[in-house]
Symmetry: C2
Subunit: 205 residues, 2 copies
């Protein structure tokens, strides 16, 4: 074992700072999701961590920045899901399905829920371009994966733009209705919803 020096290295200090900032964001996002963004103050967030609001300001400039960071984390999780799915072997339908399942899961997790529940209305005008850019990248990734699956014949030809909106809407919605204390595992819900979307409602012979 290393000797426990009371002096931290710069790397240790940086890691500690990142961990504290992360803890603030995690506490904040849960309160935004449960009480609503407007009804949550940074005093509430600080109190839930047993720290003062002044301490939060060491890591984050204000409540707007806290929200923008929470939303950015959620959107990055969706982008990461797209990137992971695109690295999968198999046909276009397989990659699309992997993305859609993870997309649904993210929307049942803290940061993804915040993207949908708090969302664009609460962001300050300065934060909107970053938000819109990330949303556009996610939408582009989804449309590209749908088009690739049509092109290799693994899904039926559909209007790509409307299909992307249809799928995204269906799988954004769990952010509104899913109860984190519910019985069904998130993975089961995601698989079932994506099965409904890929299989459709019409009976198959």
């Amino acid at each position: 074992m290393q000797s426990a020096s009371p002096f931290r290295t710069p790397a240790q200090k940086e890691a500690e700072r990142a961990a504290k900032r992360d803890a603030v964001l995690r506490a904040a996002v849960r309160m935004f999701n449960e009480r609503g963004f407007h009804a949550t103050s940074l005093d509430d967030v600080a109190a839930s961590l047993g720290i003062s609001k002044r301490t939060i300001y060491h890591y984050l400039a204000n409540k707007d920045q806290v929200l923008l960071e929470c939303i950015t984390i959620g959107l990055h999780q969706l982008l990461e899901a797209a990137a992971e799915a695109r690295r999968e072997p198999g046909d276009g339908r397989h990659r699309l399905t992997r993305f859609l399942r993870r997309y649904a899961e993210v929307n049942m997790e803290d940061f993804g829920r915040c993207v949908i529940r708090t969302g664009v209305e609460a962001l300050s005008p300065e934060s909107l371009p970053r938000y819109r850019q990330l949303k556009r990248e996610i939408d582009d990734a989804l449309r590209t994966m749908i088009q690739e699956a049509i092109d290799d014949g693994s899904i039926a030809p559909v209007d790509v733009k409307l299909a992307a909106f249809t799928l995204a809407g269906a799988l954004n919605w769990p952010a509104r209705w899913h109860d984190p204390d519910g019985q069904l595992p998130v993975e089961t819900i995601a698989v079932t919803m994506v099965d409904i979307l890929t299989g459709g409602l019409d009976p198959r012979p």
Copy 2:
């Protein structure tokens, strides 16, 4: 033609009052949808109608009541869509499809957009029970129609609850992305989306 008496009958007065209240709600819902509920004041709404805020108070008690009325109108449109679809002849799939198409259309119209865009977070605690009751009735109607279509064999067996959430989410989402000045007619968007949901993505033989 009737002689134009300068004295209005009680029925005429009531109709005029209803028309004025309706005009206030229509002006308000558009501003809520375009600027956001929190960024809209009743002064703005009054100004857009060339009246004073004091005049609005003859018809509606406060901004909270304006929002509750707008949301109630949107939710009633969805309930009416369910009732109309259930009166249709044909099999369960036909009735469900009719409901889903109209459901999508309502979410591209002013009051339906407001239900999704402004929604529950902005409602006062006193307004929540009425909102939740109407949401529950709509959800029940959708689940009943899915179950009836499964029972008569016109759609495939699915998890009714998750199917209802999947369909509702997909068709709520146009309230967020649909551009009222867009090129495609609302009816075309609704039919295409419902076709994607009923047909699914998987190729059919």
